[in-house]
């Protein structure tokens, strides 16, 4: 647990920042041409960007964008994905066959390219970015949920519930969802890390947040032009991105191990 403390702190700080950043006395958009490209050593803080805006303030406000996009995309892809996947798996038949076909079609596209195409079609902006990434992202959850349901529905307590006359929604909610939550939660934590990077990528291409609003991805894109004269423009948001993704991944790993312990314990017991 102590090993995870830094990761927990990073994620908690990220969330807190996203909630409170509106109330902090930050000036991410204040242009001051006298401070253009000043380095942290010369000007303090994290230095200033090509329009003289304070990089520290922009990194902090960028946290909110990343956070909103990450959780928005994960929620928008996990909920419909799990719903579609578990229904297809439980009901089977034509619905299942059709759903599998749809999922295969989505998977046939390279995910990020599809998101780029969609974001281009819908036009730039955070809401469209979230939509585009969720359109690509739900398939993973749907496949996972379907596979879980297919194996769990054979279990005898599910058969017993059917024999007692329980209706399908009740069986899904009480017997299937609680048991498949473990892998889904783990998938979601890894999803968060993936989405933060995807947002940075799309913003880097100019399809994400629009200027003057800050996101870590757009900051890196803008900073690249000055990489040789003012590397702090790229390093500061890059480090933030790196820390958050690493922390979320570490937590995801830990969560997976924690949830797996139970199955290990069960095997030991039956072997004895």
């Amino acid at each position: 647990m102590r090993r995870l403390l830094p990761a927990l702190l990073v994620v908690a700080g990220w969330a807190l920042l996203a909630l409170l950043v509106g109330r902090l006395p930050l000036e991410p958009d204040r242009i001051d041409l006298e401070r253009i490209l000043l380095s942290p050593l010369a000007a303090g803080g994290l230095g200033f960007d090509d329009l003289g805006r304070p990089v520290l303030d922009r990194v902090l406000t960028g946290a909110r964008t990343s956070f909103l996009v990450a959780f928005g995309v994960v929620a928008l892809s996990a909920v419909p994905g799990v719903l579609a996947g578990s229904l297809a798996g439980y009901l089977g038949g034509r619905l299942d066959a059709g759903m599998v076909l749809v999922m295969d079609v989505f998977l046939a596209f390279p995910g990020i390219l599809l998101a780029i195409a969609l974001a281009g079609l819908l036009g730039p902006g955070i809401d469209n970015l979230v939509l585009a990434l969720a359109t690509v992202g739900w398939v993973g959850y749907a496949r996972l949920a379907r596979a879980q349901v297919l194996s769990l529905r054979q279990r005898e307590h599910v058969v017993a519930a059917r024999a007692l006359g329980s209706r399908a929604p009740r069986i899904l909610l009480r017997h299937l969802l609680p048991l498949m939550s473990a892998p889904l939660v783990v998938e979601a934590t890894f999803g968060i890390a993936g989405v933060v990077i995807a947002e940075a990528g799309l913003s880097f291409l100019g399809l994400g947040v629009q200027p003057p609003e800050a996101s870590w991805g757009s900051m890196i894109r803008d900073g690249v032009r000055y990489l040789l004269v003012a590397p702090h423009l790229v390093l500061a948001p890059g480090a933030a991105l790196f820390a958050v993704v690493l922390a979320v991944n570490l937590l995801g790993d830990a969560l997976r191990d924690r949830l797996d312990v139970r199955s290990g314990a069960r095997e030991r017991r039956t072997a004895a």
Binding site: A160, R162, A163, L164, G165, S166, R174, T270
Partner: protein
Amino acid sequence: MGEKLLEVFDLRTRIGRGPRAVRPVDGVSFHIRRGETFALLGESGCGKSMTALSLLRLLPPAGRIAGGRVELDGENLLALTERGMRSVRGNRIAMIFQEPMTSLNPVMTIGSQIGEVLELHKGLRGDALREKTVELLDAVGIPDAARRHGEYPHQLSGGMKQRVMIAIALAGEPDLLIADEPTTALDVTIQAQVLDLLRDLQKRYGMAVLLITHDLGVVAQMADRVAVMYAGQIVEQAPARRFFDTPQHPYSRRLFQALPDSSKRDRPLTVIPGSVPPLDRDFTGCRFAERCDRAWLHCRTQAPGWFDTGADAGVLCHLFDPGLVPETAPEATQEAGAASPEAPAESGSQPLLVVDGLQVHFPIQRGLFKRTVGHVKAVDGVSLDIPTRRTVALVGESGCGKTTVGKGILQLIRPTGGSVRFDGDELTRLRGERLRKRRADFQIIFQDPFSSMNPRMQVGDIIEEGMVAQRIGGDRAQRRARVEALLQQVGLRPEHAGRYPHEFSGGQRQRICIARTLAVNPKLIVCDEPTSALDVSVQAQILNLLKDLQASLGLAYLFITHDISVVAYLADRVAVMYLGRIVEEGSVDEVLEDARHPYTQALLSAVPDIEPDSGRAIIRLQGDMPSPANPPAGCHFHPRCPKARDECRRAYPPETALSPTHKARCFLLP
């Protein structure tokens, strides 16, 4: 008697560290002579497998041997280096495990898996290696060994895999073969083949065998000497004859009394109350005292010593201490329980369930477009009546379709043909809401009490589930009251409602499952091997409970099982299934005492009897059950039938009525 091959002195094994370490083996001493079979008998969790693993020093990672000596031909195995130990394993001591399905490597041919041992311990290479491998496969009775040599484990049946495991064990020509429940995962007819083979090989190679089992019947057939383990200790040791004639330790006696059979039909089985104590603490008195009917104060305060009762025999029990005069408790008061009140005669009453020509065929689909290329005829024309308040047993080996019959009747799998009439309603035509409502009348209890409950739900919610689904039992408070009443009815306490399934033992979980079905007031319960995952003493508790409930609630049971002794104890009628069809049906006495179909006869004779050398002719069936996707033409049983005639290959035999209640399908019958 031969010289001593293996001697074990005061062996102690710990799993885990600190004061909560589990002690599955706690001071075990025994010896095995050359060429003899020594059986270690005990219920699950008593430490018998851990004893075997300790001998080979193959303990799980957290385990360690805390003391004692293991001497093989005078050499202390516990003092050997790991390298020295490797040359013992597979070479001088070999082991076969319970589960042949997972003991073989699925991506290696069976020939190369046997060859591995020969290469390692005998240094064979090339043609000599291949020759020896084929010879071994031949020795364990695998037909066409030269061709089978190159096959993979999935191409073999369970019995064949266990033969391959035995061949691997034999490859090192061991002095001692440890067989850990070698036949528990196999069907009785296959079990009989494998036990024959083991006995035969033992004679031929002069091996000693350490047989680990929970099955008294297997012990009676195989063992020269027996040791009974309980809670990490050997509590009784004796030559097999003597043990089966006069078991000494109260635990051993109880084990015999808890075995169901036909002679105990009209009274409840003797049960051993409670369950095996956890092994993670110090014991002050006798470990069995809590469950013993003959325990007195002394037993709880002072651990008993070992008392010799004859040559090679001894008991760990205060009752045999000549220095103590036991205030003998009256023996076996529980046995004198009154016979359960008989249900009124069934004559004239309509059968509760009438199954007629039930078919469950599963399509086999191949290729891109899922074309149907054939059918697995899991159930192919089964007809069966179940009267109210009666128990009909459906008997057969695994894969014969008996579970599918149960699920087909309950409409959990939709039958593809035939009719199922329950109380006048045709269930196969009921759909949707009407079927859902009707489901309260017929319920199911499963074999595995671990997977049949949702691990994330509390016991109270599990039992309440049926009432919620059927909208019966009034408001929440009334339902909770009923849950508590049900818990008491199945022998648990009301406060158990707030706990989770993993806090209960196997027998208790099965009680919870029974309470769950009772909650919706069913008329028929399909019991799908409800006791085969349980130990003998716990099985007796569950069988008694089922019998009591039948008497008090008027339930009908369809009892699906492979265990003939349970059938003899519980059933009123018996139907024997082979490959999707019923081959013989009749009252329990007719079928068990006067079986007419050759398959029934073979099945009954293959059940190991606890009377050693009872002189019964045992009919050995050749081969395995064919696949239901491609059943043999004519009578399905003819390829294995010792009495098959020409006409058996051509047509499926018609039904022959042997008495008003007894019928069978065989050409040999008049």
